[in-house]
Amino acid sequence: MLEVKDLYSSVSGKSILNGVNLDIKPGEVHAIMGPNGSGKSTLSYTLAGKPNYIVNSGDIIFENQSILEMLPETRAQLGIFLSFQHPLEIAGVRMDQFMRSAYNSIQKQKNQEELDVLKFNRLLKSKSEELNVEPSLMQRYVNHGFSGGERKKNEILQMAVLDPKLMVLDEPDSGLDIDAVRSVAEGINELRSESKSTIIITHYQRILNYVIPDFVHIFMDGKIIQSGDKSLALQVEEKGYEIFS
């Protein structure tokens, strides 16, 4: 599904990614773990196509085509979803309107039915209920007055509605208490399937107690320095990242 080939990228002239290689098959869950400032978020932004994140060399292949030249919206329409570490608050734009606009953009690209307000709100309500998100939050402005936990849950809800193929979760557990982590993890697990792939970027292994990864990669200085199974995450928990440096 996703192949990252020897990827080098920079932000404002500063090199951040220094040769990332990653191969993700449908249905797999990959955890990327690393200390602060190692470039984990840059990897997620580069995958999502954030402007100013310049790819200097290497390639990103998604479903057999290079997405390097694609705009963020095109990547999203193809099925890449980035769950933000810090979901933004956007004044004046209502959640339900924003989500319908996003949903219909993706449906249109897939040549599938776009939904009117009524039908879409029904879909949104049922997804909210499935994920235990208070449906009235959808009538608020995007993330406006949402608690930390609600913001993260809201990212998962968006993912559930937009039904992407590749879910890139940038620290879905940061800033959450243990109950909220469990709740977010349950949401992610519900969306897992044979055909979807997941990248979980995290600093701590605790969310991996709930979302069990197939692979764990240790990310330092802008590249993967070691890969293994879930036991690698436990090593990090026990001994910290120093053992890898």
Partner: protein, 446 residues
């Protein structure tokens, strides 16, 4: 006194004389003397110049307005009304209509309509004879103004609108004032001086919509007075949509006084015009009086919009809120100068002010300046001002969900004005009209 300031009024002496010689014989001496007094005031002060130190006119160059040569609209000015049918049919309409239509400031009774409700709605010229005792005291008051453009209007006005809501009356449908400017003779720029006088007597409720529409390539000077007298326990909703020609200059002088327990909800939307100046002076005279003032301005290239709001809390327990927002395109300029005055004994005043600007181009300029004069301790006052471009982080968040860049920008820009639109207190039809107008404009920009 600098001679240049006085000399800039000279071209208007003959225009003033024409106005006076055209005055109806039946018109009261008091009206005539108010006009004389106002014109003398103007001759003494001259028009303001935007020299250094003149803070009120620092960013708006009156000379650019005055360098054109203006004439009065000919008495014989004739128009075929069906030309304007399209414009009028595009405006919101109501079941029992009260609308007054003016073309270049000239009242058009054939295409206007007032239903027989309990309130008085007529052209000012018609009303001057019948309701002289109500109107003239206000004209006399206006003639004591020290504001040059107020005096300019008082001296030159020939017609306008008179609305009087007697005690405890409510008008079911909104009253509409429709000002159309139409002038395609390139050698003539008209000076148009409409005067709008609205008196909401005790316990009354008035809902007023004003539409200012430009046609052709008009290049006029429209200098307006809107005088709102809001008496005890009455309420006035006023919504003004201005879309004059991009070569027309519009100076719009509004003065509202609010007595005890009364409310003003005003909304100014500026689309058109070359140089637009809205002076909104609000005096809160009674306890529990409230003024909610909203404004949106969307200037494009070569347009200049200047909003000057002065709220004077002369009474304790009075409340005001100014929320103005601008979206600027091309090399447009905007000015917002909002002042709040809280008098010595005006305890428990709650006053807020906000001006935010979204610049869609790097050439656009927004100047915003809050000013407070607070002479009382026990008050709440707050203000906020901001200028910025579309937030790139928000744009990325939206596009990362599959929304195209253009649609994402539209969402963000509509969101920017959304809180103002949500707070407009006018009729649903008026709100819908305004929302559509804004949407169309933004779609053409983004």
């Amino acid at each position: 006194m600098a001679t240049q300031e006085i000399s800039n009024t000279k071209p208007y002496i003959s225009i003033y004389n024409d106005v006076i010689s055209n005055i109806n014989e039946k018109t009261s001496e008091l009206v005539l003397s108010a006009k004389q007094k106002a014109f003398n005031n103007l001759l003494t002060t001259g028009f303001p110049t935007h020299r250094k130190g003149n803070e009120d006119w620092k960013y708006t160059d009156v000379n650019k307005i005055l360098q054109k040569e203006y004439k009065l609209v000919e008495k014989s000015f004739n128009t075929s009304n069906d030309r304007y049918e399209n414009i009028i049919s595009g405006l919101p309409s109501y079941n029992s209509n009260n609308y007054l239509i003016f073309i270049n400031g000239v009242f058009q009774p054939e295409i206007s309509q007032t239903s027989n409700e309990s309130i008085i709605i007529d052209s000012l010229e018609n009303s001057l004879d019948n309701y002289s005792s109500i109107i003239t005291p206000h004209l006399e008051d206006l003639s004591t103004s020290d504001d040059p453009f107020m005096n300019f209007n008082t001296a030159l006005f020939q017609d306008g609108v008179f609305i009087y809501a007697p005690k405890n009356t409510t008008v079911n449908n909104p009253i509409q004032v429709i000002n159309i400017e139409s002038n395609n003779s390139p050698d003539k720029n008209y000076i148009i001086s409409p005067l709008l006088l609205v008196i909401a007597d005790d316990g009354s409720y008035v809902n007023l919509e004003e539409y200012c529409i430009g046609t052709d390539n008009s290049s006029n000077l429209i200098n307006t007075i809107s005088r709102f007298v809001i008496c005890k326990s009455s309420k006035l909703n006023y919504s003004r949509f201005q879309n004059y020609s991009n070569q027309t200059n519009n100076i719009n002088n509004s003065l509202a006084t609010l007595e005890q327990n009364s409310t003003l909800n005003s909304f100014y939307l500026d689309f058109g015009g070359q140089i637009i100046r809205n002076n909104l002076n609000v005096e809160l005279l009674g306890e529990e009086s409230t003024a909610n003032m909203l404004g949106l301005y969307l200037p494009n290239s070569n347009q200049h919009v200047d909003n000057q709001v002065i709220v004077d809390h002369k009474s304790p327990y009075s409340y005001s809120d100014q929320t103005y927002k601008g979206i600027l395109n091309g090399n447009a300029q905007s000015v917002f100068h909002g002042s709040i005055i809280v008098r010595e004994k005006s305890i428990k005043v709650d006053a807020a002010q906000e001006d935010k600007n979204l610049l869609l181009s790097s050439e656009a300029e927004a100047y915003t300046k809050p000013a407070f004069w607070i002479y009382c301790d026990d008050v709440m006052c707050k203000h906020g001002a901001a200028c910025g471009q579309i937030d790139e982080e928000s744009l990325f968040y939206l596009t990362s969900r599959g929304i195209s860049n253009t649609v994402a920008k539209q969402l963000l820009v509509r969101g920017f004005v959304g809180d103002v639109l949500n707070r407009i207190e006018s009729d649903t039809n008026n709100k819908k009209y305004i929302e559509n107008q804004i949407e169309n404009k933004l779609d053409s920009w983004l």
